[in-house]
Symmetry: C2
Subunit: 288 residues, 2 copies
């Protein structure tokens, strides 16, 4: 395990070198943890790296702003790119390697293959961002072949993404463990996200609506309210902050269909704060 | 390398045991060759196993009649299943392991993932059998994770399938070498196929039309004829044997688009002999 005083991580761009490096570490008996990211790293990413560094001998982090998971009218061009700061953060968090592939290596000439996950990817983000999860699943499948780690670490903030990745890993028998780590929040409860950088000061204040809505939902859930009432509590909080709702739903945490009575659930919310889409979610414990 | 006097191969049904067995062999320094099949094995399959046994230390053969690559009106139910004879043939050909997964392990409850290859899978078989190549690519991706061999061997008879598999392996960085082996033929030139078992005696005689058409095409190609004339030569042979043509095309061997002048090409043919669809192809060498 590395410590915060570790040397700067080694930056690797070449997929074959990356793969050989991981395999050599594993052959030497080292457990390797992998944190896939799009860069613009924040304390949420740091928490994934730190968790991986606790559970593994070596940590590798990929930074790749994957064009295939952005729609034609989305924010690919302006997505924040902060590589020097990212590498500094990763050194402090205990990463040994940073994998920064060129787009041309992830998508060679004539690239034609997509990994498509149907049911759990169809609703919510999948409905609003057509092709988004095919882009995610395809690049994550590619990454898991190039970075054949023991375990991969994802943030719970993108809950549906974790469901889609788990589904793909199970269906294709990809030999990697998927670990989902708690969302890291700002002091007012806003979930950490690279896209928070887009928010104006006024938008930043209103962005707390998602967390407030989820907290309110949790109280209604604990009180035994119907799912419809729990969902309405989320929408009410977003309305109060003038944040249009993309969705506010309480569903089964693994299948994303309506929850079974008495079982745990997850509240999913997405809203638009100005031109910025923000997501958040909260697990709701089983109730009698 | 095994020899024809090898003991009967070990039959493995459990994916995790299969994977651990392959990894243990490779850790011991053995090169492992993999021949994925749907069973109903014939001399064409045997040639793949024998080639793998020459090039590798251990050979593993999978037998799995993959439901996802059959359309709803195709021959899944009547596809020939001959496991005892298959295992005997594999022992004689030098296979060490036979992997026979249950459909429920390849497609666990809630399975929702497809691997889709666009361009090289869209035309020809892909146009006639919607979803066929997604079924092939998905199960081959799964198999390559469960059977992490050094190399996988495919028959050239299903040429488009080899193009689709190569495309997927490149695009997803799947760490396996793809080897394509020559088509094995009956004395009259008919390409070996498990589906030849469907043919009546009269159909069996007419089935030679595909090979005759390809031989005729090769003569026209060598004579310098236009691609359109070369293709017409194939159709003429099928007409002469009363075999309706699904397609008869001369294309680039890797991209399956029209060939470049002076470059090699492949002639692809598919026809219907009675109710049985048969495929064949022939590589055409570069010409001035």
């Amino acid at each position: 395990m590395n410590t915060p005083s570790s040397p700067a991580p080694l930056v690797v761009a070449e997929p074959r070198l990356m793969r050989d490096t991981i395999l050599a570490a594993r052959r030497a008996g080292r457990r390797v943890g992998f944190v896939p990211t799009m860069g613009a790293l924040h304390a949420g990413h740091a928490s994934l790296v730190e968790r991986a560094a606790v559970e593994c001998d070596d940590v590798v982090v990929s930074i790749f702003v994957n064009p295939k998971q952005f729609g034609p009218r989305e924010d690919l061009a302006r997505y924040p790119r902060t590589l020097p700061a990212d590498v500094a953060l990763l050194g402090a968090s205990g990463a040994r390697w940073v994998f920064v592939p060129e787009a041309a290596t992830a998508y060679p000439a004539g690239h034609a293959t997509s990994v498509v996950v149907a049911a759990p990817a169809a609703d919510f983000e999948g409905a609003i961002r057509p092709g988004h999860f095919a882009g995610v699943a395809t690049v994550v499948c590619w990454l898991f072949n190039v970075v054949p780690a023991d375990a991969a670490y994802f943030g719970a903030k993108d809950w549906q993404q974790t469901v889609v990745v788990r589904r793909m890993v199970a269906d294709l028998a990809i030999p990697i463990a998927i670990e989902v780590c708690p969302t890291v929040r700002e002091p007012d409860g806003l979930a950490m996200s690279s896209r928070n950088a887009y928010l104006s000061p006024d938008e930043r204040r209103r962005a707390v609506a998602l967390h407030e809505g989820l907290e309110s939902a949790a109280r209604h859930w604990q009180a035994g309210d119907d799912v419809a009432l729990v969902e309405e509590a989320i929408r009410a909080a977003l309305r109060a902050h003038d944040v249009p709702v993309d969705y506010a739903r309480v569903v089964d945490p693994q299948s994303l269909v309506p929850p079974r009575p008495g079982a745990a659930a997850v509240a999913l919310v997405a809203g638009r704060v100005g031109t910025t889409r923000l997501l958040d979610n909260l697990l709701l414990p089983p109730r009698p």
